[in-house]
């Protein structure tokens, strides 16, 4: 490594403890000025804690932070911003009904007298947009923008505040491959202008493509720095998890003839406007994984709700096995063999402030082992939770732990275990591995594969194209509420799939 280059950011021996846990231990990080430095590691490895430390959201217990060689101490993100460190969060923090300009200046408005100086703001935003090729029009409404543009607004927000070091937290999680390429183009511009980018990810191929240097974090500590030019994705993954990289591949067909789920002409209306789900027909057979690809916001969530009975249909029928379940309640659907792994586990899958054993019951309130007649069988619920924790590798102190105390991967494994334990005929898996680490991801993939082999029908919705291509037997592409293409995942690259998702290459990307 070139030790003579000036270090934009240096972390020395950073240790951060929370009661009972050491989240970061002896972290060593050296980021040179003007480079894209990737930080990779499993979820729960401590990346977020580290970035929160660097962004001033909490203070380290030990160690020091140096910016341009000077030790600094941040009491709040405001201090970090003042020192030129900015953060682009994974989930955008934009007001939809504001323009780009208003979003960018929000919180640090240029004023003339008491009024917002729009001319000055517009000039500066144009300037930033041109300099870094962000292609933003300050007067566009954010709600009209696609995901990629919104991300650029977030970046512009940070640059507007004078950041010279940008932290990007999982920036590609929400993007399709084409948008990822655009983002990488933007990062190159930033680099050219001498800015430093810290890029957090666990997508190793991307990291190798964009980063100048890679620091790997495992179990709260830095295990080493890697050179992306000489390190393979496999080697990186092994550094990350200390084992081999799992793949989602399943090529032995287990599809049987009996259909478990048949959707015919399913349409979900939205108040005023075109339907969220538009005349969707599809069949899932026993032992078949039917993947649904699409840019998020194209009706997948509404389709899931329609199958689960959480949203009324404007037209069409849903048939489970031989029963027309169109008019059934969600509870009855669940009782008759629908399993559900929701896309947003915090919103639909868990009671965060309830213990794990109560979360075991959730969605299965009417079935043994957790209930006996009208009563909750606490003992059985606890012991069955322990079984799930054992069988599905949920790492938690015990069934009385609050769900909120678990990492995302462990929460997800609990949900998967709970749903699998009910032996559903059809499982709806919406983003089953979103936000979980590589270890949990491979566990979940294995579970899905096993269930498929046993004859379970699975509807898989995912933004992870490798996962979709790897696991699916049939792949539908959803665009603006309709199924626009049916593809054979056997001969498909993520790039091809990505162009189908955006409407076969035309630039009509964007939220529905």
């Amino acid at each position: 490594m070139n030790q003579s280059a000036p270090l934009a950011v240096e972390l020395r021996g950073i240790t951060k403890r929370f009661p009972g846990v050491v989240a970061n231990k002896d972290i060593e990080l050296r980021v040179r000025r003007g480079e894209v430095h990737a930080i990779v590691g499993e979820n729960g490895a401590g990346k977020s804690t580290l970035m929160k430390t660097l962004y001033g959201m909490h203070r380290p217990d030990e160690g020091e932070i140096l910016l341009d060689g000077r030790p600094v101490s941040f009491r709040s993100p405001a201090d970090a911003i003042a020192a030129g460190v900015g953060m682009v969060h994974q989930h955008f923090m934009l007001a939809d009904n504001f323009t780009v300009l208003e979003n960018v200046v929000l919180g640090s408005e240029p004023t003339r007298g008491m009024r917002l100086d729009r001319a000055e703001a517009r000039r500066r935003i144009r300037d930033i947009s041109d300099r870094y090729a962000l292609g933003l029009d300050p007067d566009d409404l954010v709600e009209d923008l696609g995901v990629g543009d919104r991300q650029r607004v977030e970046i512009a927000k940070v640059l507007y505040r004078g950041a010279t070091t940008l932290i990007l937290d999982e920036p590609t999680a929400v993007l399709v491959p084409q948008e990822v390429d655009e983002l990488f183009g933007n990062l190159a511009e930033l680099k050219r202008e001498g800015l430093t980018v810290i890029f957090i990810s666990h997508k190793l191929d991307e990291v190798r493509k964009v980063a100048d240097a890679i620091t790997v974090i495992r179990r709260g500590t830095t295990v080493g720095e890697a050179d992306p030019r000489t390190t393979t994705a496999k080697q990186l993954a092994e550094m990350m998890v200390g084992s081999e990289l799992p793949t989602p591949q399943t090529r032995t067909a287990t599809v049987r003839d009996t259909a478990v789920l048949q959707l015919t002409g399913v349409t979900v209306a939205t108040p005023g406007g075109r339907p969220a789900v538009d005349d969707v027909s599809l069949t899932v057979r026993e032992g078949e994984v039917v993947g649904i690809a699409g840019v998020e916001g194209n009706g997948q969530a509404e389709l899931v709700d329609a199958i689960m009975g959480l949203r009324p249909l404007a037209a069409g029928t849903v048939v489970l096995g031989t029963d027309d379940i169109t008019s059934w309640s969600t509870r009855r659907r669940r009782e008759e063999g629908l399993g559900f792994i929701p896309e947003d586990r915090h919103r639909q899958g868990m009671l965060l402030e309830a213990p794990l054993w109560e979360n075991r019951i959730l969605g299965h309130q009417t079935r043994p082992p957790a209930v006996k007649g009208a009563f909750i069988d606490r003992k059985a619920a606890r012991s069955d939770t322990e079984r799930i924790m054992r069988d599905y590798d949920v790492r938690a102190p015990g069934p009385d732990t609050l769900a909120v105390a678990l990492s995302g991967g462990n929460q997800q494994k609990l949900i998967v275990g709970r749903e699998m334990s009910a032996r559903p005929r059809l499982l709806i898996a919406a983003h089953p591995t979103r936000g979980v680490d590589v270890g949990a991801q491979s566990v979940i993939w294995e579970l899905l594969k096993d269930a498929r082999a046993e004859g379970m029908g699975i509807v898989l919705i995912s933004a992870d194209l490798d996962e979709l291509i790897g696991l699916s037997d049939t792949l539908h592409v959803m665009l603006r509420g309709a199924l626009v293409a049916t593809l054979d995942p056997g001969h498909l690259t993520p790039e091809e799939l990505g162009s189908h998702m955006t409407g076969a290459g035309d630039n009509a990307v964007g939220a529905a």
Binding site: F18, P19, G20, V21, H91, F92, M93, L94, A95, D96, N103, L106, G107, S108, V147, R150, K157, V174, E296, G297, A301, E302, D305, M308, L310, R311, S329, T330, R331, R332, R333, R334, F340, P342, H346, R347, Q348, M350, L351, L352, E353, A354, P355, E358, L362, G363, H364, Q365, T366, V371, A374, F375, I376, R378, D400, L402, V404, A405, A511, A512
Partner: protein, 416 residues
């Protein structure tokens, strides 16, 4: 150890709140030129003779029984995130109709009492049911409709009292309904006091205390141990997760409000069947609103509510002795008010603390939300949550939808 720690955490917030409230109240008493310590002495002085002391205990218990029932009624709704502010109207209307029904019929003693109780519960449930129906069919916020229905209930009760159900003689200063005959009255518990070796008090200890205890136990079991209770608590903790798990949100709103209203119907009965025997212009008012305070204080658990009710009853008893000591009785109201405010603040602080602890993997804290008392807005109509920032309890959502916009990026509102 674990249990001890839980208990300590659960008690810490209310105790702290009471201490803060007492400090503020002491300041207020000082400001009006009285001696806080003297006031405190008066409040804890239960009298000299054994009979006086027993009497004081009876007064406190008799006051605590309706407060406990009121707190319970409010807490059941709170548990699923519903704000039943209509308890006041529910119990007033229930009490006058139950009094009228009790006076109109003549039955053997146990049946007579049972009839009165059933009528009261049905009327309370019916009145609360209106709120539920408005909410599930028209999306009317239960806060608004239950407040409005309070006015209608009080007006209706006044009309009934002065009109069709008037029992007192023409021209008497206090208007009441017909008296409930002997067979419809609830036997007292003074025998128990005697058996405990306490002196005979001047008035009766309400036998309805036993009913309240039974209702408390039933509610505790219902909420904590049954499937129904699980659905109810799940709806309170996360309406969206509950709906996805198969809970029928509309049905839960109706059932919960019916139960809450039925319990509210009981609030007036201890006084009606134990001391007054008729509903009149002088009948105890305001218990429904005090019930909200008691439920907050007791953090929506039956045991906590019982303690809260006892505390409030103890404070209420002090009003008259304070006046004898030339200290304004409104001191009691000030203390009660500050306790409620302090408890709301303390609960929220405790909730955040326990949550932060849990998030850091130190999972010993008891869940403190889901009582609907502190966590986030009770969104009128239960619109789609803007973002499930965990812990932001939105009102029970009847629509399960997230907006169509924002699927992609979960806008979280602007944040600089």
């Amino acid at each position: 150890m674990n249990v001890l720690r839980r208990a300590r955490l659960a008690l810490l917030a209310p105790l702290l709140a009471i201490v803060v409230a007492l400090a503020i109240s002491a300041l207020v008493i000082l400001l009006i030129g009285e001696d806080p310590l003297a006031a405190l002495r008066v409040m804890v002085d239960f009298g000299d003779s054994p009979s006086q002391q027993t009497q004081a205990i009876v007064v406190v218990l008799n006051r605590a029984v309706p407060l406990f029932l009121a707190g319970l009624a409010v807490s059941v709704a709170f548990r699923m995130g519903l704000f039943n502010i209509g308890v006041e109207g529910q119990y007033r209307l229930a009490t006058i109709l139950a009094a009228a029904a009790g006076a109109a019929v003549s039955l053997p003693a146990p049946l007579h009492v049972a009839l009165i109780v059933v009528v009261a519960m049905l009327v309370g449930a019916f009145w609360a049911g209106i709120v539920a129906v408005l909410k599930v069919t028209r999306g009317v916020s239960e806060v608004i409709s239950s407040i409005m229905l309070n006015f209608i209930a009080l007006g209706t009760a006044s009309f009934l009292l002065t009109g069709p159900l008037r029992g007192s003689r023409e021209g008497s200063s206090i208007i009441t309904t017909e008296e409930v005959p002997e067979s419809g009255r609830f036997p007292d518990l003074n025998g128990v006091l005697g058996a405990l070796g306490l002196a005979e008090p001047r008035t009766e200890l309400y036998g309805f205390l036993l009913v309240a205890v039974v209702v408390g136990v039933v509610v505790a079991v219902l909420i904590k141990r049954t499937r129904f209770g699980f659905d109810l608590r799940a709806s309170g903790l996360s309406p969206s997760a509950a709906t996805a798990s198969g809970v029928d949100a509309r049905g839960m709103v109706v059932k919960t409000m019916l139960i809450s209203g039925a319990i509210a119907g009981l609030i007036g009965l201890p006084d009606l069947l134990g001391a007054q025997y008729s509903y009149g212009t002088e009948f105890t008012a305001g218990l429904g609103f005090l019930g909200i305070a008691v439920a907050l204080l007791g953090r929506n658990t039956p045991v906590g509510i019982a303690l809260g009710a006892l505390l409030f009853a103890f404070l209420d008893r002090a009003a008259i002795p304070l006046q004898f000591a030339d200290i304004p009785a409104s001191v009691v109201t000030i203390i009660q008010g500050t306790i409620v405010l302090a408890v709301v603040v303390a609960n929220e602080i405790a909730r955040r603390l326990t949550r932060n602890q849990a998030e850091r993997g130190n999972a010993v804290a008891p869940p403190t939300t889901g009582d609907g008392s502190t966590g986030g807005g009770q969104g009128p109509g239960g619109g789609p949550p803007p973002d499930d920032g965990p812990g932001s309890g939105t009102g029970p959502g009847l629509r399960t939808a997230t907006g169509d916009a924002g699927r992609t990026d979960q806008p979280q509102g602007a944040k600089a």
